[in-house]
């Protein structure tokens, strides 16, 4: 077998494995989410199909594939069919670039599907492509609720993509590379980037909640408000593909947060003193971190009410965007004039900024202020109204 064919086959195999893994994770994420939401609301989640409800995802999948695949009269047939495929395709592809371990650690192969020097840029590009799926889906349904939902959703996603892109600039300045391997390596040497970019991380977290259309930013899908957004006219597997894309995006966002800010597949270094080599265990740490962030996604969903649409856009454009820029400038100034101060100074600076943000934010203010009837536009905004 020629060399290139072997490489091709291996990467194909890895791609298939990653895709199947993601789909399984997605299926079980729906179950985990429902169970956890149940726990948080003091009720059991789905527990009838199989032990502990473990067969529920399979039942759901079988149901949705045997459902009648409707094509609404007004729909644009081609685009209507293509949109969910685009959405899921982009969502799945974005995950492939993330490293799950050091080079050659997966039975002599690399534990990633593709490795680009511009890993972060590729990831952002793929998330932008995901917007196409959602908007075209809404448009092709040929009805006014889906198109409104699609418009809202795409406007929201592109707005927060800006915040996402800007909030990692400080990180890139520190690290000096856009490849995920480089970023993980830097963190193994200097400590996790969350310490030095706490503000950037907070903004990235908020942006990725909005980017994946999760609560508290899930109003494009708000069932009580505009039917179900871009999903209104979809049935059977196409609907499931959109849901799948959302959950896969969530998993990818968790993995990206783990990789960029929490050391990726490297475990905490101090544990090495107890059990030598524990921080290099393949996959374990990455999966643990992803699971943690997924839990946060669900936890937030169970806790927070959703924003109104104007609040959402104001939040994105007037708070996240300027703060991300401020974070960039802060990091830039630190790097330019650091003098003798080590990185710890940046860490202090960053946490102070985050603390200030929290103190100023509405939720904290409510804690010691009497909640009064608030006028519109009083939400904390950097630019002022």
């Amino acid at each position: 077998m020629p060399d290139w064919l072997a490489t091709l086959l291996i990467s194909l195999l890895k791609a298939v494995l990653v895709v199947l893994g993601l789909l399984t994770t997605f299926a079980y994420m729906t179950l985990v989410e429902r169970r956890l939401l149940g726990r948080m609301q003091l009720r059991p989640g789905p527990n009838r199909v199989g032990p502990m409800g473990l067969l529920q995802p399979a039942a759901d999948a079988i149901k949705s594939i045997f459902k009648e695949d409707l094509n609404v009269t007004l729909a644009d047939k081609l685009v209507y069919t293509l949109a969910p495929i685009v959405a899921i395709g982009m969502a799945l592809t974005a995950f492939g670039g993330l490293p799950a371990g050091p080079a050659r650690s997966l039975f002599g192969e690399n534990p990633w599907v593709y490795n680009l020097d511009t890993g972060i840029l590729a990831l952002l590009a793929l998330t932008s492509m995901g917007v196409y799926g959602i908007f075209l889906g809404g448009w092709a349904s040929g009805s006014k609720y889906p198109i409104l939902g699609g418009l809202r959703s795409s406007a929201q996603m592109i707005s927060y993509e800006l915040g996402m892109g800007l909030s990692i600039l400080g990180l890139l300045m520190l690290v000096g590379t856009t490849s995920f391997q480089g970023i993980v390596g830097w963190q193994a040497q200097n400590g996790v980037l969350f310490l030095f970019q706490a503000l950037g991380f907070a903004l990235f977290l908020i942006s990725s909640f909005a980017e994946t259309n999760r609560t508290p930013f899930d109003l494009p899908e708000a069932e009580q408000e505009i039917v179900a957004g871009y999903l209104t006219e979809y049935s059977a597997i196409k609907w499931a593909l959109f849901q799948m894309a959302e959950y896969v995006n969530m998993i990818t966002a968790s993995a990206v947060m783990a990789t960029l800010f929490f050391g990726g597949w490297k475990g905490p270094q101090f544990l090495n003193a107890l059990i030598p080599g524990i921080s290099d265990w393949p996959l374990v740490w990455l999966i643990a971190k992803i699971a943690f962030f997924l839990f946060v996604f669900i936890w937030v969903r169970a806790t927070l009410p959703r924003l109104r649409y104007d609040q959402l856009m104001r939040f994105g454009w007037k708070l996240v965007l300027p703060l991300a820029l401020a974070n960039t400038v802060m990091t830039a100034a630190f790097l330019a004039f650091r003098g003798q101060g080590g990185l710890w100074f940046l860490a202090v600076l960053s946490f102070a900024a985050l603390a200030a943000l929290l103190v100023m934010s509405d939720r904290v203010r409510v804690l010691w202020n009497q909640p009064t009837v608030r006028r519109e536009g009083e939400m904390s905004s950097a630019g002022g109204d």
Binding site: S11, A15, V18, L23, S64, I65, F66, K67, E68, L70, N71, V72, L74, T81, I85, V86, I88, G89, A91, L92, T93, W139, G142, S143, K144, Y145, I147, L148, L151, A155, I158, S159, E161, L162, G165, L166, L169, M173, G176, T178, V227, T232, A236, I237, K238, L241, D310, R314, L321, P322, L325, T328, V329, A332, A333, L335, A336, G383, G384, D385
Partner: protein, 111 residues
């Protein structure tokens, strides 16, 4: 990776089209959703949408280009300091002028 991912989607759609029940839908079944009413004011009827979405998209393009300019600077930053710092500040300030203009024009207000 992209091919495999798209392939999964295509396979799923085809499988569902084959496996699902194929009944001819009646007119009402294939009608767009509107709480039981005949749909009115759909996409084809010339109803228009707020210009806000257009503005947001336009601003996104502007600021995303800004971000695109920022990436090379950020990656090469440590090699170019302190000169690059003033470059970056100038660039950010120029953009902030535009940003403040948008704020003052209340483009970002969703009435």
């Amino acid at each position: 990776m992209l091919l495999v991912a798209l392939g999964i989607g295509i396979v799923a759609v085809i499988a569902s089209a084959i496996l699902g029940p194929k009944r001819r839908g009646s007119r009402t079944k294939l009608m767009a959703y509107e709480s039981g009413n005949d749909p009115e004011g759909g996409v084809g009827t010339g109803q228009r949408f707020p210009v806000h979405f257009y503005l947001v998209a336009m601003l996104f393009i502007v600021f995303d280009i800004e971000t695109a300019f920022f990436y090379p600077l950020a990656v090469a930053y440590q090699k170019l300091i302190p000169f690059a710092f003033f470059e970056a500040i100038t660039f950010v300030l120029l953009l902030l002028v535009g940003y403040v203009y948008i704020l003052k024009k209340k483009v970002l207000e969703w009435a």
